[in-house]
């Protein structure tokens, strides 16, 4: 995937969340955004997925200029997995996926069902297709969210801390699913607290602090951090 950000700024209520973000990446398959809480990671992800617009600056994802593209067109090209609880509670697992395929992507009922069933089976969710979100574990429901994200065959999949609401066991379950996607060459950007996971799953790592990109590079920077901030962040993380 290609990412290009030029002087991107974003603030809420006069509080600067992202300050002059510049970035140019080509051909990265998987990108992890790490950093302490309040660093602006999730905000950056929301700008990349056009859930929100920057106050100023330019963002390109692949060939799309996010200032110019019609958001509804862009949303058809990307997938998004939220922190938690965004399966629609009144629909079954299967319908959560087929509804989007039928309504937004104009697939026939048969096509939508086939795509959804194939994916759910492939991710070992076949036995849950007729359940509702309330009948799933947190891990299962995040895995369904992931399947929902990839069902539309997106160019890029965005993950916003997909395991932050889960206990360690369920976290593993979800992280293995994401690793599986990597094996299948899905391109993704993930905001995560799981540094060990980032090491395994990401090609490229962006470390943010206080609204700025402090350090970024090949995943090796997690072994050999150059900046003091990243060193400190990593040592704090591994203390635990």
């Amino acid at each position: 995937m290609e990412l290009k950000l030029h002087n991107v700024n974003k603030s809420y209520d006069n509080k600067e969340i992202l300050i002059d973000i510049n970035l140019e990446l080509k051909d990265e398959a998987s990108i992890a955004i790490i950093g302490p809480s309040g660093a602006g990671k999730s905000t950056l992800l929301r700008l990349l997925s056009l859930i929100e617009k920057p106050d100023s600056g330019e963002i390109h994802v692949n060939k799309y200029d996010l200032n110019k593209i019609d958001p509804d067109e862009y949303y058809k090209k990307i997938g998004f997995v939220f922190q938690s609880h965004t399966l629609f509670p009144h629909l079954t697992v299967l319908r959560n996926i087929t509804l989007i395929l039928e309504q937004v992507h104009k697939k026939t009922k048969e096509e939508a069902n086939k795509t959804a069933l194939d994916l759910l089976n492939r991710f070992d969710l076949g036995e849950h297709i007729h359940k509702r979100a309330s009948q799933l574990s947190g891990g299962q429901s995040q895995r369904v969210s992931i399947v929902r994200g990839i069902a539309i065959n997106p160019e890029v999949l965005f993950f916003d801390e997909p395991t932050s609401a889960l206990d360690p066991v369920l976290t593993q379950e979800v992280l293995s699913t994401i690793l599986k996607l990597r094996e299948e060459h899905m391109k993704f950007v993930i905001v995560t607290h799981e540094i060990l996971f980032a090491k395994k799953a990401a090609d490229f790592v962006i470390f943010m602090d206080c609204g700025k990109i402090v350090e970024m590079g090949n995943v090796d920077i997690l072994e050999n951090p150059q900046t003091e901030e990243l060193q400190k962040f990593l040592s704090n993380v591994f203390l635990w």
Partner: protein, 251 residues
């Protein structure tokens, strides 16, 4: 061995039996029981049934109109224009603080006379609908809050149009959340409609009291009332519970 289901049925029947015995006890302790003569009502049964039907019809109309008024009140209370919000707030508090019977009579005099409405049924419907509107407003408030903010974001990023959001996600969820409290409020309306007797609406209470006093069967009348209201409200309460269970399944 008896199954769980059988055990529940048995316990339920036992509870019914205890109530039955209790009622029988009350009946036999009642000094005037020898004078009770329910068949007095037979010649008047058409009037009573008409009243019973009117109670049901009025309640359903009030349910619909108070849902509409309640929704408007909800919109007012969420308005960014503060005056609208306060109008809704004040109305809500005044209603919550007023006894229904007082409100009905005030509507009869102060809305009926100036607007020249002399149809008592219409006035009764107006009074009950206005009274129920704030309760319905609260129902809408609760329902809207129950849809998680994240769901709206998800709908957006999945590319749903506004129409699709409402048609497939928001309204189906709202309906399921709204139906149990609506059914609950309908029970409230049915019971409250008995107070329309005070402005002369010939609903069930009014009909039976009228027959009771002409036939000297006031006590029998109240027993009939007790049973006939329960015939409406118990199924409604069961229905409400059924819907609540269904909603709880996916919450």
């Amino acid at each position: 061995m008896i199954s769980d289901r059988q055990k529940r049925i048995l316990s339920f029947l036992t509870a019914l039996l205890i109530f039955g015995l209790f009622l029988a006890l009350i009946y036999f302790a009642f000094p005037g029981r020898k004078d009770l003569e329910f068949s007095k009502f037979l010649p008047w049964k058409n009037l009573v049934i008409k009243g019973w039907i009117l109670t049901i019809v009025v309640s359903i109309i009030v349910l619909i109109s108070s849902v509409i008024l309640g929704f408007l009140l909800y919109l007012l209370s969420k308005s960014k224009i503060l005056v609208f919000k306060y109008l809704a707030d004040i109305f809500t508090e005044v209603i919550f603080g007023s006894p229904l019977v007082v409100f009905i009579i005030l509507v009869f005099y102060f809305i009926g006379a100036p607007l020249n409405i002399d149809n008592r049924i219409v006035l009764g419907v107006i009074a009950l609908s206005l009274y129920m509107a704030p309760y319905m407003k609260n129902v809408f408030e609760g329902a809207m809050e129950s849809i998680d903010e994240m769901q709206y974001q998800a709908m957006t990023v999945f590319g749903f149009t506004n129409y699709q959001k409402y048609r497939y996600i928001i309204i189906p969820q709202l309906l399921k959340i709204l139906i149990p409290p609506f059914a609950g409020n309908l029970t409230f309306i049915v019971k409250g409609s008995s107070l329309l007797n005070f402005i002369g609406v010939p609903e069930l209470y009014n009909a039976i009291i009228t027959v009771g006093s002409t036939t000297y069967g006031v006590v029998e009348g109240y027993i009939f009332l007790f049973v006939m209201y329960l015939m409406i409200t118990i199924p409604l309460i069961r229905l409400t519970k059924y819907f609540e269970k269904k909603v709880a399944l996916w919450n």
